[in-house]
Each structure stands twice: as C-alpha cells, then as structure tokens.
C-alpha cells in the first residue's frame, strides 16, 4: 500500500484493494460505497457515466462479502468495482452506445467479457460515456453528455472510451473496460494519465461488444497501473466459442510478466512516429522515457514503418465500410429509436413477440407496425406503403444518429459501392496488409516498439469537433496497431507544463501482451507518473 490508511479506498488500485479484502480488513461493500461516494462528489464535474448501477453494485458486493465470510474460494479481483463502456451488453441493463438510437435499449444477454467478470465476482458500477458507437477521439460525440478530463475540466478526456478513462483517472472506478478500434482505449488513457491496454485482436471475445468495425474492434482494460492491467487481462482473455475470430491460444498468467527488468530487450523506435510538428512536450517526454529504458538496460534501435503515412486513410475506409454495414440494423423495426414519420396515419401495435427480451418481460406489442406489402403487388397502394416504410427507415436514422456516425456511414457506404469498391475498400485492404507487414518486419528485429500514444496532450472541448480531419489525426499513432491486430498499451510518461498527462505507447507481436506488460511494468517501477492524482479543477489559459 502506498500511503497507508490516509488514502481513501476508491483511490487505491485493484491489487491493493484485493489484498485488503482478502485479509478481511475491508469489505467489498465498503469499497463499493467509497466509489459511489466519490461519484456523488465529482460526477457532476467529470461526467464519466451514462448509467449508474448503485443498487445492483451494492448487492453484488454483499454477495462477495458473504463468500469471503464463508471462506469460499474467490478470484483475485472479486469484489472490485469496475466501470463498463456503454457498448458492452449487460443483461437487463441499458446499452446505449451513447446514441439516441439505442437510448432505451436494454440488452437481454451478457457479453462474454461481462459473463467472465460476473464469474470472477467483479462489481459493476455503471456504464461509461463514449463517442456515439465508439466513433470519435474526444467523447464529444456522445448524444447524452460531455465528459471532462479530470486533469483539466476544460479539456476532453480523449475517446472513444473517454468515460472509462475519466472514471478511472478521477477515482470514480477502480477498473474499467474500454474498446479500441483505432486507439479508443490508449488515446483516452494517455490523455487522462492512466494505463490502457488494447490486447491482440482475438485475445478477448467480442461477443456482446456492439460492433463498430468488426475486424478492428477489441475490448481491453483501463486501469490505474500496469499490475491491474495484468490482473484484469487474466479475467477477460481467452477463446470464446461465440466469437469465431477469438483465438484458441493459451492464456498465460499475465501477472508473471510483472518483472522489473528490461535488460537486453530490443526496443524499436519507428522514425515515422517522431515527425516534425509534433507536440514538443510530448516528444520530449517520450524521448526521456526511451532514455530511461536504455539506462535500465534495453537496447534501443531505430526502425522504419514506411507505410505509416497511409494508415489513417486505410483505417477510415475499412472502419467506415464495416461500420456502414454493422450499423444498418438500427432502422427502427425491432428495437431502439423509431421515428413516427411514415407511420403517422396507421400506427398499429401487434401481439407478436419478436425479441427475446419481450419474452422475458412478458411485454407485448414489440412487432413491426410498418404497414408494407411485398413488392409483388404492383398497385399504387403498395407503392405508398413501401414509401412509408422507407420514410420510417430514413427518419429513424436521421433522428437516431449523430453527425459523426452519419458521416462515417456515408463514407463507408460509398467505399463499398459498385464501381468504387476496388478503388477504395479493396485497395485499402491491400495497403492494410502492407502496414501490417511493416510492423511484422520491425518486430522481427525488436521485442517491442515504443511511440507516443497521441501526437498531442488533451485539447479543449469544442476545439476540434468541427474539424473531422484534425480530430482523425488524434489517432495517427494508434491506428496501425488495430490494422495489424497487434497488442498495445499506453502508460503515463509525463505531464505538460500545464499539468496535462502524456502517454507512452508500447507495441509488440500478436499475443505478446507479456512483453508489453514487462516493459510497461519496468518503466512504471522506475517512475512516479502513475501515482499523481488529478486536481479536478477548471484551468483556463
């Protein structure tokens, strides 16, 4: 324990709390209560959550405490409160993806990660705010609220897992899950001064993660330090028969990688990631970190990833193409938002029960009431009815999606359209292979790569929201990782003069999370950045 009992429970790491719980010094209920006390105090300022689950959390906590009392065997993270990004499904809980489209959608099933967390007795605090459908780098694209960076409430927390990062940084949560499609765990972790790990594609099941871009999405951890990352990875990793893209590759005990030693390790520094015009303070912090690792015995070598310059373009074709298809299911027929337009005159509710959640709740009338006919009847009335159905689709999507989501759906639809497919989508897939080959080649010579996580520290709310291209460049250093499917972590490596956190990114081969954890842990053990706590104040220039 760091400072002994003067620290509040919610300020501790999961590892520290776990020890206290096991020794019987504190109960899960006490820890959970301390987290909710903190939320009551600061949530108004930070705005990390879209749904709080206090009652359920306390109930879960008491169950764990019972188990401990009965001396039942419990998992290392039993009783630890965790925040979940609002794009992961928890049975019976709202899963909104911070979208108006799913404002009222209660999932009737658990995501596989949620199932695993439940099996390990973690306590769910609530669902965290995010960019709508994970599209964005600032969490400003939420349909519901703005999340503020705890280090400077005037600035953004990063995104899209901004709520999760802000919650952990402000001690509103001990642990959090995020999802990372192009940097959505690492970039907010970097901007909020916490640790964010995006595992190898296929390491953690995506079942129950609301898809943005299926070939890039990956669930990962946001924690206060590297040890907690390893502990959480132990719980969420592994093959899932419900996810065909998850890998049946043995899951090691990640805590075994928490070794303070990088002697002889080869660390590659991609020269393309230290470009002219990047933030000076970021550059200096990262270079200092590299020097420190060298001092600790690592061998530093420069490597080249020549196709890096195409990564953002490739990403915004592939991710949007997949998104255009993944988000097509939100059209108002089965669940979620439905515009009243198109059905105005003849709204009829039906006795059919098309979704399992309605079976559970014994609720009737969930069927589609769009009066349409099959196109086989070629009379005018049919045309009118089909027209009304189309109008309902269009209005639903117009009302339900925010601007950024619409922008990406249109871009992706375009990239997949007849006549453009080869030039955009197919070409992007080919270049994706080149980007991946660059990284594979570099990692043949090195154990890991180190880069800045984000080219800049956090920026002001509203600063880039009207400039999508500028916003897209926030992910310039994190995107290649997803294109290549490799694991990456962001850990704190310094602060700007204005007190904003700076993050260091460590990348390694597929399934080499252990290498990443080892380097990150060594760096952490030799620095103090991760121990700083945010002031939670507004600071103006």
């Amino acid at each position: 324990m760091r400072k002994g009992k003067e620290m509040k429970l919610n300020e501790l790491t999961a590892y520290e709390i776990s020890k206290l719980i096991r020794k019987g010094e504190v109960s899960s209920e006490e820890v959970t209560k301390s987290v909710f006390e903190r939320i009551e105090k600061v949530e108004k300022k930070v705005g990390s959550f879209v749904t709080l689950m206090k009652e359920g959390a306390l109930k879960q906590a008491r169950i764990v405490d019972e188990k401990i009392k009965k001396k039942e065997k419990i998992s290392p993270l039993a009783g630890i409160p965790i925040a979940i990004k609002d794009n992961m499904c928890i049975d019976g809980v709202l899963t909104t993806c911070s979208s108006k489209m799913l404002e009222n959608f209660k999932s009737p099933y658990d995501a596989t990660v949620i199932k695993r967390l439940k099996e390990n007795d973690l306590v769910f605090i609530g669902k965290t705010n995010m960019d709508e459908f994970a599209m964005g780098s600032s969490t400003e694209n939420s349909a519901f609220k703005i999340t503020h960076n705890p280090w400077n409430l005037e600035t953004i927390p990063g995104g899209s897992s901004g709520g999760s990062a802000a919650a952990v940084a402000s001690d509103e949560a001990i642990l959090a899950l995020g999802s990372d499609t192009g940097g959505s765990i690492r970039q907010p972790a970097s901007l909020c001064g916490v640790v964010g790990l995006k595992p190898t594609y296929g390491r953690v099941s995506r079942y129950g993660l609301v898809a943005f871009a299926s070939s890039l999405d990956q669930i990962g951890s946001i924690t206060k330090d590297v040890t907690d990352s390893a502990l959480l990875m132990n719980v969420i990793s592994g093959y899932d028969e419900r996810d065909s893209t998850s890998c049946d590759y043995p899951v090691p005990d990640y805590t075994k990688s928490l070794v303070n030693n990088v002697k002889g390790m080869k660390i590659g520094i991609p020269k393309e990631y230290f470009i002219k015009g990047m933030d000076e303070e970021v550059e200096k912090s990262v270079k200092d970190a590299i020097k420190l690792l060298e001092k600790l015995g690592a061998q530093i070598k420069e490597v080249s990833l020549p196709h890096t310059k195409y990564a953002v373009a490739v990403y915004y074709l592939i991710a949007t193409a997949e998104a255009s298809s993944n988000l097509a299911r939100y059209e108002g027929v089965k669940y979620g938002h439905r515009a009243s337009a198109g059905l105005r005159q003849r709204r009829i509710s039906l006795g059919l029960k098309p979704v399992s959640q309605s079976r559970q709740s014994e609720e009737k009338g969930v069927g589609i009431s769009a009066p349409l006919r099959s196109a086989s009847r070629q009379d005018r009335q049919v045309d009118r009815q089909t027209g009304r159905l189309l109008e309902m689709y269009e209005e639903t999507r117009k009302e339900g999606f925010g601007d950024e989501v619409k922008r990406r759906i249109m871009l992706g639809t375009y990239a997949l359209s007849a006549g453009y497919y080869d030039a955009y989508y197919l070409k992007a897939q080919k270049v994706r292979t080149l980007v991946k080959e660059d990284i594979d080649k570099a990692l043949e010579k090195c154990d890991c790569l180190i880069t800045p996580t984000s080219p800049t520290p956090s920026f002001k709310i509203g600063e880039k929201i009207n400039d999508p291209l500028k916003m897209y460049l926030s992910d310039i250093f994190t995107i290649s990782t997803n294109l290549a499917g490799i694991p990456g972590i962001s850990i704190p490596c310094g602060f700007t003069k204005k007190g904003l956190p700076i993050g260091l990114q460590i990348l390694a081969k597929p399934f080499a999370e252990e290498t990443i954890l080892k380097v990150a842990y060594t760096y952490e053990q030799n620095t103090e950045w991760h121990k700083r706590k945010p002031p939670l104040v507004f600071t103006r220039d």
Partner: protein
C-alpha cells in the same frame, strides 16, 4: 422463325439441420411465430455468428453430388439491403470465393444426355417471413426462419426449354433427397427457384444464312450472342416454373417479332393470372455492397474430410436408374419413376431380391413388381397421403403375390382386391386368399360351360376373330372373366376359347 430459350436457374435449398446456420435455434417448420429466435438470429447489438458444422457438411455433400469442386478456402460475404424480414440489414452469404463451383447434372431422357453445368453451390442464411394477411393494414414479421441454412445452386444458362427446366429441377430435387440434405419441399419453402431467361433463334435457323440476311440480323438473332435476359421470380412449384418460363418465352418472342426491345429486368410470376409482371429494371436493381464478412473466419476444408464425405455419398438417382434398366431389364420410364426417390428405389430392390428363383422368370417378375408398385401401390399411398416408409405391404409379400398370379393361383382382378387388403392389414396374399376362399377357377369342365355360353352369345365377334382380328379374342376372354367375377384362370380361358372357335 424458330426460337430457343436460354435458361439458367438459381435454386435456394434449405438444409435439414436441426439448428440454424449461425446459432443454436431450432429450424423446425411451423412453430409459433418468433418462438425459435435468440439474440444472434435476431441480430441484436453485439452478437456474432458461429458456423454450424453440420450445415457445412451438408453443403459439401450437395456440392459433391452435383459434381462441383470444393474450394480449399472460401469466405462469407455480407449482402447489404434493408427489409423488415432481415434483422441485421445484411444477409450472410457467399460472393467471391464460394464454397464450390464447376459442377454439372446430367439429365437423361430416353438415352439422350443433357448436361446442365452448375456454376456454383454456396452457403447462406435465410431471412424471416412477412405476414400481410393476419392483421388488417399491417404487416407482421416472423423471424423463425432467420438464419435457417440454405445452399444456393446456380446453373450455367444451359437449359433450352421450360420443360428442360422442369426436368432439371426434378433431378436436382431427387439428388438432394437421395443424399438426405434437404426435404426439398416447395410448399414449406425448403426449395425455391428463380430463373433467368432470354431467347434467340435456334441453331437450326442458322444453317447457311445468306450474307445479306446475316447482316440484317441482330446479335441475338445470329445465335452467337445471348439475348437480353429477364429474371423471373415468385414461382411456387416446378409446374409454375415451367409455366412461367413458357409464358416468358412467348412474351419475349412476340416482343422481338414486333420489333420491340427486351428490357433487362426482374419480373414476377402471377400464379392466378398465369402471367409475368415487371417488378424492377436493371437500373433500379440493388447495389448490395458485398464485402467479406469480418465476423467469420474463412472456411478452410480438410481434403480428408471432403473425401470422407464423398465416400459417404449413396448411389445417385441417374446412376441407379441406369443400373435398374441394365440389371432388371425394365423400361426407361419405369426406372425413372422407381428411382425418383431413394426409399422407393430401395423398396423396389427389396421386392426384386425377394423373388424365389424357382417361381417366376426374373424379367417377367421384375416388370410385374414395377407395374404393381407404379399403379396400385403408388395410388394407394397417394390416396392415403402416405410415404413408402409407412407402407404396410412388406416387399416379400408383394413378391409372393406376384408369384401367386404368375402361377395362376389368382387372377389379376382378384389380386387387386387382395392387394387392397394387404395394404390395409399388412398380411400376406396367400393368407388372404385362403381365408376368403378366393381360389381361381381352373376346372376345365366348369369353364368350358361358360365359354360355350359366351360363344353362343357373340357370333359376330367370332366372325371378326376368324377374319384375323386378334383383339376379338381379348374381348371374349373379358366376357368370361366378367361372368366369373374375375375368378377364372385367364390362361385356361384363352386356351379353351381358341380350341372351341377352331372346332365350331
């Protein structure tokens, strides 16, 4: 002028797996709407598909039976479009790199072989069903069928007539039923078929056309190039396919002869009016924006597995038909009917095996069995709406009955009555004969009296016979049989009649 049709078919066949293609929901037909659904087939946010191995096995089986090559690696693709019966707003199908390609089906009629090439056989999921009639002014969605495994079978444009399309579908259905991968029931929607059709002048028109003539002809007319094709949908039976294609062929020919252009479009068959009507033109066709399904890994199939499946294939209908003709010396027509389903062919072969060598000559016996199955047995089954599997008449019993007829123990007419009894009770013919005292009159003295009487009543017929009308004798035999309620031994009657006419 003489025209020929160029027809290609696209059939969707439901595989009879117990569970759906990407989740474990039941595929049972006729369940209460939306009772066989789960988050996966409902396409709820966050779900992922997982391939059903049995569906893949059945698809491979079908592809092999259709002589296709199985791709070492194939991929799924998303076909994107909005419709209320499609909860994900995309169908998981295959586009580039399908499961299999390059096959064929030989349609043999009267010894003539017509080879229909199979372009591809691929796997995909079914959509749900819209119900328009249940509630007024409203459409209900039943998603039970969502995610039911289908194979799509696409032919090359090798079919040349509406009848040919019917023949192909009949064979296709019997192949798929033989290998037990589908029920192929059009009423339940487990077999659906769309067609592409264009017309052009048939080859016969093209023998030595004058240069001048050729110059005037359009491409479609020279037979070197295909005409503009039309897609026809919404046919609910093989007969409907045939009728729709016949109609469409006539429509296109008429249009061409009137100098009109054929528009590339999709047309729907209207069963009640027996016409096709335009649905959408090529310009209005969907852009499905196919792209590889990122949620499923490529299908990579072990060669050994393919070989194991290949070895498990039964003898297919065309081969079996050929063998029946050769081994059992039955006509082409009989062999076609008897091999139309695997169970019926099995039944026939069991009957044939039950013949005791001493009893009947094989050829007469085999044909006798065939006749009885094709007429009496199939009629009874149809009347009672039963399948051959439920038939109570054991193959040995039918064999015994044939032997009994042959031996002269019972007449054909008596046999018909006996057969009805056998069909009802499952008892042996000899047993029924004994119990009912149905013994054939083979007593010459008794029969001679009746023959005399008939001859006396029919002097005109005798005259005809003497003039050489062979048929006249048949008539007289018939009269005797009538008088004896069918119990007379027909061979004996025949003999007696001839003898008496000669001596009269």
């Amino acid at each position: 002028m003489e025209y020929e049709a160029i027809i290609g078919l696209e059939s969707h066949v439901q595989l009879k797996t117990k569970s759906k293609i990407f989740c474990s929901c039941s595929t049972k037909f006729g369940a209460e709407p939306n009772s066989q659904v789960c988050p996966v087939c409902l396409g709820l946010p966050g779900v992922l598909p997982v391939m059903n191995r049995t569906a893949l096995e059945y698809a491979i089986k079908a592809a092999l039976a259709l002589n296709c090559k199985i791709a070492q690696k194939s991929i799924f693709a998303r076909k994107n479009y909005f419709y209320p019966d499609l909860p994900k707003s995309y169908q998981i199908s295959q586009y580039e790199q399908p499961l299999s390609s390059g096959g064929f089906v030989d349609v043999i009629t009267g010894g003539k072989v017509e080879r229909i090439r199979i372009t591809r056989v691929h796997l995909e999921e079914d959509a749900g069903k819209l119900l328009h009639e249940e509630v007024k002014d409203s459409t209900l969605v039943d998603l039970n069928r969502c995610g039911v495994p289908l194979i799509e079978i696409v032919t090359e444009p090798d079919i040349r007539s509406a009848k040919g399309a019917h023949r192909f579908l009949t064979i296709l259905k019997s192949i798929l039923q033989y290998i037990e991968v589908s029920e192929c029931n059009m009423e339940e929607g487990s077999l659906r078929c769309d067609a592409n059709i264009s017309v052009r002048l048939s080859d016969r028109q093209l023998i030595n056309p004058s240069k001048e003539e050729t110059g005037k002809l359009a491409n479609w007319q020279t037979g070197k190039q295909l005409g503009v094709k039309v897609e026809v949908k919404n046919m609910n039976s093989f007969k409907a396919v045939e009728k729709a294609l016949e109609y469409e062929m006539e429509r296109q020919i008429k249009a061409l002869e009137e100098g009109k252009r054929i528009i590339q479009e999709t047309r729907l068959w209207d069963e009640s009016k027996e016409i096709t009507v335009a649905m959408r033109s090529k310009e209005e066709a969907h852009d499905y924006r196919y792209f590889p399904e990122p949620d499923l890994v490529p299908i990579e199939i072990d060669r050994e597995w393919i070989e194991r499946i290949r070895e498990s294939l039964p003898e297919l209908p065309e081969a079996r038909k050929a063998r029946f003709i050769k081994d059992y010396k039955i006509p082409d027509y009989d062999a076609s009917i008897l091999t139309s389903s695997r169970e019926l062919a099995d039944y026939y072969e069991e009957c044939v095996k039950a013949r005791r060598k001493s009893q009947v000559a094989s050829r007469r016996f085999n044909k006798g069995i065939a006749n009885w199955i094709m007429s009496e047995l199939l009629r009874e089954l149809k009347e009672k709406n039963m399948g051959i599997k439920e038939c109570k008449v054991a193959p040995e019993h039918l064999a015994e009955m044939i032997a009994l007829i042959d031996k002269g123990g019972i007449s054909g007419k008596m046999a018909k009555e006996i057969f009805v009894e056998m069909f009802k009770t499952g008892r042996k013919a000899s047993q029924i004969v004994e119990e009912k005292g149905l013994v054939q009159i083979s007593d010459e003295e008794v029969l001679a009296k009746i023959v005399d009487k008939i001859l006396k009543e029919n002097p005109k017929v005798i005259e005809d016979y003497e003039k050489g009308k062979e048929k006249a004798l048949g008539y007289l035999v018939g009269q005797v049989m009538k008088k004896t309620n069918g119990t007379a031994n027909p061979r004996l009657v025949n003999k007696l009649l001839k003898k008496k006419i000669v001596f009269s």
